[in-house]
Amino acid sequence: MSTMKPRDSEIRFDLQIIASWIEPGSKVLGLGCGEGELLHFLKKNKRVSCTGIELNEAKVAKCIEKGLSVLQGDINEEILDYPDDSFDYVILSQTLQQIYEPGELIRSMLRIGKRGVVSFPNFSHWSVRLQLLTTGHAPITKELPYDWHNTPNIRVIALKDFRRFSRETGFSILQEVAINTDHHEKSGNIIKFFANLRATYGVFLIGKRKQ
């Protein structure tokens, strides 16, 4: 385990990992960008030209007030309008578990962007496994804090599953970082060994598979 010092405590640790991958001056689309925490950071610190898509009106308004260009809408539909290779990076942060057609969406991401970034909570973390085993209830964790009946998360994903999904769907994983962090904490650890068991989140940089 290597402890990472927060490089910039303005943003969450998982977003710091993503930000470290983004080339300065590039063009970025953030899918489900929330209040624009990451996009604002990228715009300010890396002179990145940012666009976001977000469904929630209040969050969209927050983004626009911050000076970000954000469209209110459903990411699955909005993504279809962009021409091929419109962006250097298309980011799907902490949203994959809520997507009805993840394969379609990732294909679209890599159609309109040269690279994609996907992050999600790891469902095979030991605490998830232990809870199900010992209590017999559907697990509730810091990262997945909902009951079965009120969760927006329609999919449970393990890091291993995502790697297999990349092979089956036909995209490449260019970089992969497994982390252990409280969702709201600004710092965390990168997990090198037994990540599927020990990491709370996975962050992946993906690209088109070379033919």
């Binding site: 009106e57 969209v60 308004a61 626009i64 911050k66 469209l71 809408g73 021409p83």
Partner: protein, 390 residues
Amino acid sequence: MSEYIEHDRNGVSVGIVERELFTFARPPKEMTLENGSTLGPVTLAYETYGELNPDRSNAVLILHALSGDSHAAGYYSNDDAKPGWWEIMVGPGKGIDTNKYFVVCSNILGSCMGSTGPGSMNPKTGRPFGLDFPVVTIGDMVTAQKALIDHLGIERLLAVVGGSIGGLQVLEWCLRYPDRIVSAIPLATTPKHSALTIAFNEVARQAIMADPNWNKGDYYRGAKPDLGLAVARMIGHITYLSDESMRQKFGRRLQDRSDFSFNFDADFQVESYLRYQGSKFVERFDANSFLYITKAADYFDLTRQYDSSSLVKAFSRAMAKFLVVSFTSDWLYPTYQSKAMVKAMKKNGLDVSFCEIEADWGHDAFLLPNERLTALIKGFLEHVYDETER
């Protein structure tokens, strides 16, 4: 729109303002209109608030809707009962901050609030134009505004802002003079009128033309077609509200009575409201202007005007940074129409933001106090301004 004009809740205002007139296109340099005819001289009534900065980069042009005028903010005198029509949005520290921006608002060509329109004197006859006034378009209105902006010495407008028919002008500005616009805020508007909108406008026009006083537009020396214009305004007001807002505002409540009259008086509050709005409107608006402006709006079609193949191609001319806003209960210019133009902007790689504001008040929502709308416009303009100053 006048029914909503209200004083600022915190008493903040740009203060005493003055209406000015700009006359251009004097013969023989008349203005050539889209229908091929010429018009001149042309006068535009306008107002300005705030100061133009030394490099002339802080000008914001406000474009008004059907029945609006150049009086967007402030008061004409200390005992003026009402401020300008967008007092809640325009002023010191407000959404469109007159401490930062030089704000211009002009009355549109064809209107009756000081600019040249069908009620103006026809220099060739010495009598009001009436139906001799050429059928102007949204494009003609924008061409006239551009002459004013040139006259004011403004090379590039920091922003063009407007709702409804004002929004049509915003879009027209962005395609007609793309290199003159840094940013644009089209509110509650559309790239072209739907059949539904044209239909309502046509019924309103028919109401005016069916009034015997209308007399083929030649009524300026006698009784005016007030009944027709009032009915036209009543139709308009229905389309500006929504099922929900009418239910909240009126329901089936009766007006000043406890039971039905069993005659054709205004029993219901909604009837009384519409009659009142209609009768108020005729005091300040010219029926012919209503015909001309609604016709211009019905003709407006960005695709037809700029590239008959698609809206996407039409927007390929645009260069501005856009903030598009629609309102959930607006059924006159529904959200899908805003989304269609947002899509065309996206396909052209334009920098665009879009927000659909949840509001019960129908099309009129853009004129009502709305913290979200104010914050959006304020934040957007500030960042556009900071980015251009950098």
